[in-house]
Amino acid sequence: MAAVIEIQGLRKEYRRLRGGRTVAVDGLDLEVPEGGVFGFLGPNGAGKTTTIRCLLGLVAPSAGALGMMGEAIPTGLPRVARRIGAIVETPALFPRFTGRRNLEILARIDGIGRSTIDAVLERVSLTGRAGDLVKTYSLGMKQRLGIAAALLKDPALLILDEPANGLDPAGIVEVRELLRQLGAEGRTVFISSHILSEIQQTADRVAILARGRLVTSGPVHEVLAARGGQGLIVRLADPDAGLAALSEAGIVTARHGDGLRVDLPAAEAERVSRTLAARDLFVTELRPDEADLETVFLELTRDPEGPS
């Protein structure tokens, strides 16, 4: 699978006013494959936005190499900018212009027509408010307008920095669906976020950043499985009988709340089910024991020098 974003050894240092340097990104290596939704996670100050700014040529890296869609960044950026839509942090738009006028100004840069503007406004459900000044928009509406601006170019790669910021629950669901659709259309959607439940539901792959370094990356289920350990959660009417049956069958089992935790990989779930059924014990729930993304995130991004 071709990588649409390639980052090798990215380092960005900022000079402090009173001397010394702050390292925002420290030797980041990352590859984002083509297609689907890629979650870029990290706590505040981890270097997510700095990385995105480096990718978009807004910030010059102190060291390292970046590439997008086969072009070196920043030199090749003008050749691929037409195919990249981006929002960096809160969408920055002219507050005293209407939503439509903001889009018209951007659209003119690439010669994009009115029908496309209408289509993207419709897609983010802003058609009815397009004639209002942006300064009257809620944060969620500004986010949606920012997404509309990013979609104007019909981009192959979307880079969205915290797109769910400020959205209400309905808005979050709406944006989630939109991002899924965009990923399913064959586009690559690169989202930085700290709303982990959203990423878990939206992204196909994730990368987790901490203190400017990549701590893990890969398909969401692999990242979760790698950290959650191998195991199965079993629920049935009589857990004590189930515990005895499984132990007798040589399966390492322990009580887990009002159910059981079996020390077997998910691929051997059938063996558990068969063993219990042989004793007339029937499972009501049988699922892999995976950590959620939040647990993994907190574990991986914990500051080793901070409070445990």
Binding site: R53, E89, A92, P95, E104, R108
Partner: protein
């Protein structure tokens, strides 16, 4: 590049500050026209006869004294010389005169140049303050290209705004003069007024580009306006006081010369420096080029956070 210019032009046209400045200035112009018209009065035939007689009396006196002793080329008529010494409009009754229209327009030069500065500084400063520079650079990553387009639009836009406002002013005063002033002319008033409008508008456009460049360097509208004010009102005043001859390099002096199209002499000790309108225009152009160039270099070199 055409698309980028078109996008910038749309942004310029949509700016509320441009509209508000124009509306406020037009209101001001209308007030000036009304006040000027109300204090002026249409000359009576008797006033005009008296003025004509006074003019002819002075010309006759000049002829009688052989052009007040002037050394004229052989064969040159003394009357022509004497008539060139006196302008009929100087004898016209008080009040509005078409011959003075270019002077009235020049009186508005400061406001137009100031409007140019505010437009230029705000077109760039507001983009930094709202963060739209980031958004635009994700569409056009070639920073110098984008800034060039913006400065060009700012310069052109401010020139057109200035020309439009001065034309409205000239029209308002011209109307007031036609109704309640002296329309008899002895100068090419229309050409003089048109040239004055063109000069002021062009200088306003240049100053707008200076404002845009300073705002790009400072990344803030107020900082840019403050910096230009401090430079022109304080720093240039100090330099002018200490070394008057350096006035030939100062923005304020050269704006004055370029706008009025009059030669000015600067004296420093035994030395005399003559500022011509061409020199003024050249110095303004150098300021624009240096500041826009510096802004472009800094925009390329600095991070956009």
């Amino acid at each position: 590049m055409i698309r980028l210019l078109a996008a910038e032009w749309l942004g310029f046209r949509s700016r509320k500050i441009v509209r508000w400045l124009m509306v406020l200035t037009v209101i001001g112009i209308a007030l000036v026209g009304v006040i000027a018209g109300s204090v002026s009065h249409k000359s009576s035939p008797a006033d005009l006869t008296r003025a004509e007689q006074a003019y002819e009396t002075d010309v006759a006196e000049c002829i009688r004294q052989d052009g007040f002793g002037a050394e004229l080329p052989p064969g040159a008529p003394v009357e022509d010389y004497c008539r060139s010494l006196f302008s009929e409009s100087d004898y016209a009754p008080d009040g509005l005169k078409l011959d003075d229209l270019d002077e009235i327009v020049l009186g508005a030069a400061f406001i137009v140049v100031l409007i140019g500065l505010v437009i230029g500084a705000s077109m760039v400063g507001a983009a930094w303050q709202s963060g739209t520079v980031t958004t635009i650079l994700t569409w056009e990553p070639r920073r110098v290209r984008w800034f060039f387009a913006r400065v060009a639009v700012v310069g052109l836009g401010a020139t057109l705004v200035g020309a439009a406002l001065l034309t409205i002013l000239a029209f308002a005063i011209g109307l007031a003069t036609a109704l309640r002033g002296t329309t008899a002319t002895s100068t090419p008033w229309l050409a003089d007024t048109t040239l004055a409008i063109a000069r002021i508008a062009l200088v306003g456009g240049g100053v707008a580009m200076i404002g845009a460049a300073v705002a790009m360097i400072g990344r803030h509208t107020a900082a840019a306006l403050g910096a230009v004010f401090v430079y022109m009102a304080v720093l240039e005043s100090i330099v002018r006081g200490l070394r008057p001859g350096l006035g030939r390099f100062l923005l304020g002096d050269n704006i004055g010369v370029a706008v009025t199209a009059t030669r000015t002499s600067l004296f420093q000790g035994e030395s005399m420096f003559v500022l011509t309108p061409q020199h003024g225009a050249l110095v303004i152009a150098v300021y624009v080029l240096v500041l826009v160039g510096a802004a472009m270099v800094l925009l390329r070199a600095r991070d956009v956070n």
